[in-house]
């Protein structure tokens, strides 16, 4: 492959892509089936991919289902997002050591391995772009995120099988990747055979693609790829009306719906853990028994915990109502003020992984005064 013209990889070609990434020095992560879910983990080749597995998702529900075909990427998204890699759940920031005249501070070693992400959905590319704004574009960048981001090679795989919880079309983030990737694949599984349309999105993507055993794409391949995305776009399980959503939420902070949703919400923080854009963290200190050394660890935190808003005298957001309102208003409204984009990419994880099935699209519709969100699916 020698130009930016789309090409076609066979299954062997995809294996070649994984091997080429490994040969380039990347730790290759991709979708794999574990504990009844599709999760991201180290992969060595096609055998590690969840061949023939799809997912069935709804409010509070996630199940793997056998598709009856050989699709390697025939699911939507699982509980993991690439946030785990770029913004790790636990990260030691620095260590201190007691000295004769006090203590010394030493930054913790942070040399993340260059990592290739195989199977990045369009909604996840959007989520990465959202987190770039949080961690790279403020007055003080987060060097840990910056290192991981610079060392990541993104292989998008266009979504062909949106779940019942998906609404990327509403959020204008998918289902087809429109940039932000190094390489993008569309899995094609039709009479012409099991193959992948390969598109180049960056200079290093081009360099890698040139080493692959691929044939130029034909018009039929391109048409088939477009059809996959069009079909996916037409099968969104959910939709969210986003017109005027910032004002809608910011001007309805006392809406009765917040009380109603608070009666269902368990304040468990699952939605924030699975959300690919939620970025909040806390810092914790650990020390050995003698106090000789101590470490400061940053870990994911959630606005659903009582501690999150604690100041001397009490917790600011003591009620579940206030915490749910904070989460949803931040995600869908104040995010625009802070970062110029929505904090929601329409991946639907918060809906599927909510133990009581609270549906963010339904909550928005309720605040709009609509009875039920009109389903496009």
């Amino acid at each position: 492959m020698t130009s930016d013209r789309p090409a076609v990889l066979t299954l062997e070609g995809l294996q070649g892509l994984i091997e080429a990434l490994a040969a380039e020095g990347y730790r290759v992560l991709g979708p794999t089936r574990r504990d009844g879910a599709i999760v991201y983990d180290a992969i060595a080749g096609l055998d590690d991919l969840p061949a023939g597995w799809g997912d069935e998702q709804d409010g509070g529900r996630y199940r793997l289902v056998e598709r009856g075909d050989a699709a390697l990427f025939g699911y939507a998204v699982g509980p993991h997002s690439w946030k785990r890699e770029l913004h790790p759940p636990h990260l030691t920031l620095f260590r201190t050591r007691r000295e004769a005249d006090g203590f010394s501070v030493e930054a913790a070693a942070d040399e993340p391995e260059p990592t290739a992400f195989l199977g990045v959905r369009a909604c996840e590319l959007a989520a990465i772009a959202v987190q770039d704004r949080t961690f790279l574009e403020g007055p003080q960048a987060d060097p840990h995120y910056a290192r991981r981001r610079a060392g990541s090679f993104l292989v998008a795989v266009n979504c062909g099988e949106p779940a019942g919880t998906c609404f990327c079309v509403s959020m204008e983030t998918g289902p087809r990747a429109r940039g932000g990737y190094d390489l993008a694949l569309t899995e094609l599984l039709d009479a012409a055979g099991h193959r992948f349309l390969l598109e180049v999105g960056s200079e290093r993507g081009r360099a890698l693609a040139e080493r692959l055993d691929a044939r130029p794409a034909e018009a039929a391949d391109l048409a088939a790829s477009r059809a996959v995305s069009e079909r996916a776009a037409g099968r969104m399980g959910r939709r969210m009306e986003t017109g005027g959503i910032k004002a809608l939420l910011q001007e309805n902070q006392e809406h009765a719906r917040w009380d109603q949703v608070a009666e269902r919400c368990l304040s468990c923080a699952n939605c924030t853990m699975v959300c690919p854009t939620c970025f909040c963290t806390t810092v914790e200190d650990t020390s050995d028994l003698s106090g000789e050394t101590a470490a400061r660890v940053r870990r994911w935190d959630s606005c659903f915990t009582l501690d999150f808003s604690y100041i001397h005298g009490g917790t600011v957001r003591g009620s579940t109502k206030a915490r749910y309102r904070q989460w949803m208003t931040h995600k869908l409204a104040s995010w625009y003020d802070q970062f110029g984009v929505s904090g929601c990419v329409g991946c639907g994880r918060c809906i599927a992984w909510c133990p009581v099935g609270i549906d963010i699209t339904e909550e928005v519709a309720a605040i709009r005064g609509e009875k039920n969100p009109e389903s496009a699916g």
Partner: protein
């Protein structure tokens, strides 16, 4: 992207400098002022800003600077010993090491208030982040109209910086009114909420600038009283307090509506805050 990321990777803004405590002064029963030698690279601060002070194994808390920003020498932080970290900070002796990051946050509009009457309203420990502004107002006293400090505390024993306030009052260059929530018979001053002091001072409301810091409920009432007196919303400035973990807008804890109190505040004008202050548990 990679060039930007590589450049950004240079330093970790979460890493504290190790600074040295050079002095410690008891202000009240549970409030101490900690004097810290400026660490390398310290470029000063503006009135109203804060530092993150850290102790190994315990944690890190935001503490406002309470000294004169124009004075050379140590950085002063006034701490109330209420939690594990603040109690340990308040107990540090000269010579001890303390982690320091900062300064962070927005400043009181001291220079912008030139030519105007200035009303400073403080509640409890809220006087500490206002003291740097008071130093600057006094230092350039001729640039301002009437300057008044209205200060409310729980009891006479809780009055911060008492000797300094008495000296300033004797020098007559600022009007100082103090009130307490409760007092024994030997207190000859006012008893009651700080807003009741406002009618006692002479100032030109429409053109004055108000600087307010204290518990949130006190600031709401103070702002209402100032508005009732005729001070325009954009000229009333409050210093907000929220939980903070990073001070650089990345941990998410200090959000107040769309603002990160750490970098968009803590000092914000009332016209920006009004709608949000009326919402409970925001």
């Amino acid at each position: 992207m990679s060039a930007m990321a590589a450049g950004a990777a240079a330093t970790d803004p979460m890493l504290p400098a190790v600074a040295r405590v050079v002095g410690r002064r008891r202000e009240t029963a549970d409030v101490w002022t900690l004097e810290v030698a400026p660490p390398d690279g310290w470029a000063g601060f503006a009135p109203g800003q804060f530092n993150m002070l850290y102790l190994p194994g315990l944690g890190e808390v935001p503490i406002s600077m309470s000294g004169d920003p124009a004075a050379p020498g140590p950085i002063r932080h006034t701490v109330r010993a209420v939690g594990a970290v603040s109690a340990a900070l308040a107990a540090l002796r000269p010579g001890a090491a303390v982690g320091l990051r900062g300064p962070y946050g927005s400043a009181w509009p001291v220079a912008e208030a030139a030519g105007a009457d200035v009303v400073v309203m403080a509640g409890g420990l809220g006087l500490a982040p206002l003291r740097p502004a008071l130093y600057r107002l006094r230092a350039e006293r001729a640039r301002y109209g009437r300057v008044a400090l209205l200060y409310g505390t729980r009891s006479p024993a809780d009055i911060l910086f008492r000797r300094e306030l008495e000296r300033w009052r004797r020098q007559l260059d600022l009007e100082i009114e103090v009130t307490v929530d409760r007092a024994a018979g030997d207190w000859r001053g006012s008893v009651g909420v700080v807003t009741r002091l406002l009618p006692r001072i002479a100032f030109e409301p429409v053109s004055s600038v108000a600087l307010v810091c204290g518990p949130e409920v006190m600031m709401r009432f103070a702002a209402d009283a100032l508005l009732d007196a005729g001070v325009p919303e954009p000229r009333i400035h409050l210093s907000m307090e929220r939980n903070m973990r990073c001070a650089i807008g990345q941990c998410g804890h200090c959000q107040f509506g769309a603002d990160f109190v750490c970098k968009d505040g803590p000092v914000m004008s009332y016209d920006r805050l009004r709608a949000r202050l009326k919402i409970r548990e925001l």
